[in-house]
Amino acid sequence: MFDWLREHMIPCPFKVITGHDCPGCGMQRAIIELLDGNIWLSIQFYPALITLVIMFVTLALHLKFHWKHGALVLKIMFIFNAIIIAVFYILKTFNIFTL
């Protein structure tokens, strides 16, 4: 099933038009590798995936249970995720450093 998924991935419209990676390129590969159990490979493909998943789970729980400091925690997690995505996108686009 995972091999079938690896062969049938949705193409990125940004990459088709411009020829460059978009900030989310690598996420599908990372999701498939994470579902398959290869955590280090998924981090190599897309480092922000696990933190994004944690952030969305926290968002859902906060909207359900209305924690007192949930908004502050979500704000900090969002800024952290944005920094990870921006830094690794710049590194990936300019081929400075790859995990």
Binding site: C12, P13, F14, I17, T18, G19, H20, C22, P23, G24, M27, A48, L52, M55, F56, L59, H62, L63, H66, W67, K68, G70, A71, L72, L74, K75, F78, I79, N81, A82, I85, A86, T93, F94, N95
Partner: protein, 172 residues
């Protein structure tokens, strides 16, 4: 009531006394009813104040309308940046900012009737929407630049080709 019994009974005064007794009992009944109602309202106020101070006034106050939706839209703006390129993210971020503006106006109109945690949601959603909008703006600028200029001339993987050429020259 007891003073009436101590008075000396004259002629035709019994009926008057009875009437007075009846009137006084009615007045007393009304007084007791009024005092009961006042004590009930006092106890209600005290209990409501106690519950409000204990549970941070959640039971008394409403949430700011669309507070959770603003937070969700602001956070989803960066997910749309990752999934669909910089096309859907700005739309979500702008919707979140407009809703946050109306929500802050309604909160400022009567801050006492809304919970402070939901207003924190609105503020966090606004911050997330601004960051997501900035990132999507950078990506849109990059997208337009790479469309206008020839994408083959703006090849950022030149370094890789250079290394490959180097290794080829070294007969690897």
């Amino acid at each position: 009531m007891t003073t009436d019994n101590n008075q000396p009974a004259g002629f035709d005064t019994d009926d008057l006394n009875q009437e007075q007794e009846m009137h006084q009992t009615e007045v007393n009944m009304q007084n007791t009813v009024v005092t009961e109602t006042t004590t009930i309202t006092d106890s209600d106020k005290q209990s409501s104040q106690k519950s409000g101070s204990a549970k941070s006034q959640i039971s008394m106050q409403m949430r700011v309308p669309n507070s959770g939706g603003i937070l969700a839209l602001g956070i989803l703006s960066i997910a749309m940046l990752c999934c669909c390129g910089p096309f859907l993210g700005p739309i979500l971020a702008i919707i979140a900012l407009i809703m946050a503006g109306t929500a802050t106006r309604t909160y400022k109109a009567s801050p006492e009737s809304f919970t402070s945690t939901s207003f924190g949601n609105v503020n966090a959603g606004k911050v997330c929407a601004i960051i997501g909008l900035a990132l999507c703006g950078f990506m849109l600028i990059f997208f337009i630049i790479s469309l206008v200029t020839d994408s083959s001339s703006m090849n950022f993987s030149d370094m890789e080709d250079l290394y490959e050429g180097f290794w080829d020259a070294m007969n690897y």
